[in-house]
Symmetry: C2
Subunit: 361 residues, 2 copies
C-alpha cells in the first residue's frame, strides 16, 4: 500500500517528510514512524502542528474497534498549528497564521449537505482526517500525531491568538461535537438540560450550555465529579446510581445531551425528559441502543444523533470561544507518553482531554 | 373487586345495566357479561353504542400482554353511538346526538399538558377507556364492547352524520394515532414519507398523508399489498424483503411513520431517512427497539414516539374527515364472532379494521 503510494506521489508531485507516532496494526500500540505526505497543491495549506488533542475515537481506530482502520495509522483530529507554506491559489491563509484542522479534510463539495455547510453529512462521503482513502482514490489520510499536515484551505480553520493554543486543540472535535447540537436544537435560556458523562465531550457541553443560558444538570455515576461539575458551571448534579435523585428529575429536562460512547442504559435518561423532550446522542457504542418504545410514545419524546459539525459552524464555534474565553480543560503530555495516556483514558483518568505537545516528538 | 364496586355504586348513585363481552382472565377469551355502570352524573353523557372498532391493543389487554389488565375486562376504545341521556350540567350534547369516544375518558385537567389539550400526555395520568382505575380511585373503566357507556362530556367527541357511522369508529384510535403525528411534524406538500405496515393504523396514515399532500411510499414485507396501497392513494410501494428496492430508497424520506407494534428491525427504516429525517413510531413492541446509533449520528436522524392524540385534536381530525370524506376501511362483524376476529387479526387477515355491530350483542 505504502510503496504504491510513495511511487505515485513521486510521479505526480513532490512530497514532504512527516515524523509521527503510528500504529502498525490493531495490537501494536503507537510508536515513532516516518512517512511522506503529498506536498501542498495549489489549494493546500501546509501546517506545522503545535498541539494535537487525544480523542476516544483515536483509540477506537488504533485498535480497529470499528473494523475500518487502515495501517500504518497516524491518529489525531484535534490539530492546531502554524501555516508554513501555502499553494499558489490559497487566499485564506498565509505563512505564520494560527490554524486548526478537525475531523474532516475533504468532502464532495457539490451535494445538498456540502452546499449547506454540513460537510460532516456529505452524501457522497466525507474524508476523515485519518485512516480513510482520500478523494484521489489512493492516498490514505494521516492524522495529527505528526509534526506536519497538508490540508485543502477549505477545511482549515482560523484560530485566534487570544486563547492558549494547547487548550484550543480539543475544540476541533470535542468542542464542535457539543456546540453543534446545542445550536441546532436552539438550546439556551429557559431550557433545563441534562448532560450525561463528564469527560472530554461532557465538560465542553457544560461550558457551552451554561454560556448559552441553559440550566445545566450533570448526570454522572460518580459522586466524585460533583465538585468539578459545579466548578465548570453546572447548576445541579445528579448521581445516577441514586434512585431517589433519579426519581426527582423524572420528566424534568427539555434536552439531555448524552456523551457516552460505551454501552449504557438510554431509558434511564429518556425517562428524565419532559413531554416532547429530546435526548441527543453524541456517542456510538458498538452494540445497538436498547430503546423501550413506551418511554418515547407516552410523552412524545425523541432520540436524536449528532456528529461533529460542518466547517462553517466549526469556525463559528472557534470564534465564539475566542470571544467568550472558552477552552478545553487539558493535560499536556509528551508524544512518547501516548500509550500510557490511552490506558488512563480507558479508566476516565483525565481532566478532561490529553493534548500532545508536538515539540516533544 | 366487582362486589365492592357494586356496593359503592349503590351507595353514591344509581346505576345502569350494561351488556357486554368481557374477558374473565388472560386465557378466557371474550364471552357475554353483564355489569353495572354508574348512571350519568351532572357532567356525564350516556351513550348507546352503535359500533365499536377492534384495535390490536384490545388483544394485548385481553391477554394481559403488558401485565396491567384488570379483570373482568371489557375492551373497546373506538366507540360511536347516540346520546340517550345527559347530566344536568351537560351543555355540549343532547339526546339523539351522534358522538364518539376514543382511548381516553378522563385526565387531571390541571397539568400543563391537559391545559394544552394534550390529555394523552397528562402528567398526573390519563384514564384509559378500559381496564384502569378511574379518578375516583375505585371504579374500573369498562370499554366499548358494550351496549352503552357513560363518559364526561369533555371526553366525548361530536360525530358528523355525513359519514357512514361504522366506518367512523376506527378514527377514534387508528385515525387520531396517525393524524396527530402527521400534524405535529407538519407533514405535507414537499415531503417524501414512508409508511411501515399497511394495517389498521397504516391504511389511515396513507389516507391522511396523501390528503395532506405528501408523496407516500408504503413499505411492506408483503408484495400482495401493493395493489391495495395504490388504491388507498399511496404513490409508491417498496417490498422491504427485496434488497434492491430497499437500496433504492436509502436516505430518501423526510419522515417514516412506523405503525408496527411487534418486534422488527428499526435500523432498516432509519437508513431510509434523509439527513435530519425522523422515524415516528406509533407501536410499542414488548421488547426494546435495537437502535444502531451510527444510523442516527451519521445523518443527524431522529427516532420519535407518538401516542393517540388529545381531545381537541381528535375533534379536529373527525371534522377533517367529515369535510374530506375520509373513513376507515372496515369489515363489520357480529359481537359473537369477536374471538375469531382476534385470530384473524393476528394473521393480519383484515382490511383494515374489524368493527363490531352492537345491534348483534
Amino acid at each position: 500500500m505504502l510503496e504504491t503510494q510513495d511511487k505515485t506521489a513521486e510521479a505526480v508531485s513532490e512530497t514532504i517528510m512527516s515524523n509521527s507516532y503510528a500504529a502498525q496494526n490493531a495490537s501494536s500500540g503507537l510508536a515513532p514512524f516516518s512517512f511522506e505526505r503529498k506536498a501542498p497543491g495549489p489549494h493546500d495549506v501546509q501546517i506545522e502542528i503545535k498541539y494535537c488533542g487525544v480523542c476516544h475515537t483515536d483509540i477506537h481506530f488504533v485498535r480497529n474497534d470499528w473494523g475500518m482502520s487502515i495501517y500504518p495509522l497516524v491518529p489525531g483530529h484535534e490539530i492546531v498549528g502554524v501555516v508554513t507554506n501555502v499553494g499558489t491559489h490559497v487566499k485564506k491563509y498565509k505563512e505564520g497564521d494560527l490554524v486548526g484542522v478537525g475531523c474532516l479534510v475533504d468532502s464532495c463539495r457539490v451535494c445538498d449537505n456540502c452546499n449547506e455547510g454540513l460537510q460532516q453529512y456529505c452524501l457522497n462521503g466525507m474524508v476523515l482526517t485519518y485512516s480513510v482513502i482520500a478523494k484521489d482514490g489512493k492516498t490514505v489520510t494521516m492524522g495529527g500525531y505528526s509534526n506536519n499536515i497538508v490540508v485543502d484551505q477549505d477545511f482549515v480553520l482560523k484560530v485566534s491568538d487570544k486563547l492558549p493554543l494547547h487548550a484550543v486543540a480539543p475544540l476541533l472535535c470535542a468542542g464542535i461535537t457539543t456546540y453543534s447540537p446545542l445550536r441546532k436544537w436552539k438550546i439556551g435560556k429557559g431550557h433545563k438540560i441534562g448532560i450525561v458523562g463528564l469527560g472530554g465531550l461532557g465538560h465542553m457541553a457544560v461550558k457551552f450550555a451554561v454560556s448559552f443560558g441553559a440550566e445545566v444538570t450533570v448526570l454522572s455515576t460518580s459522586p466524585a465529579k460533583k465538585e468539578d461539575a459545579i466548578r465548570l458551571g453546572a447548576h445541579k448534579f445528579v448521581v445516577t446510581k441514586d434512585e431517589e435523585q433519579v426519581q426527582k428529575v423524572a420528566g424534568s429536562f427539555d434536552f439531555v445531551i448524552d456523551t457516552i460512547s460505551s454501552a449504557h442504559d438510554y431509558n434511564l435518561y429518556i425517562n428524565m425528559l419532559k413531554t416532547d423532550g429530546t435526548i441527543i446522542c453524541l456517542g456510538a457504542p458498538p452494540e445497538p441502543a436498547q430503546v423501550a418504545m413506551f418511554g418515547l410514545l407516552f410523552q412524545r419524546r425523541m432520540v436524536a444523533g449528532s456528529l461533529i459539525g460542518g466547517i462553517p459552524e466549526t469556525q463559528e464555534m472557534l470564534d465564539y470561544c475566542a470571544e467568550h474565553n472558552i477552552t478545553s480543560d487539558v493535560e499536556v503530555i509528551d508524544m512518547k507518553d501516548i500509550n500510557g495516556a490511552y490506558q488512563r483514558m480507558e479508566k476516565s483518568d483525565v481532566k478532561y482531554r490529553f493534548v500532545i505537545d508536538m515539540a516533544t516528538l
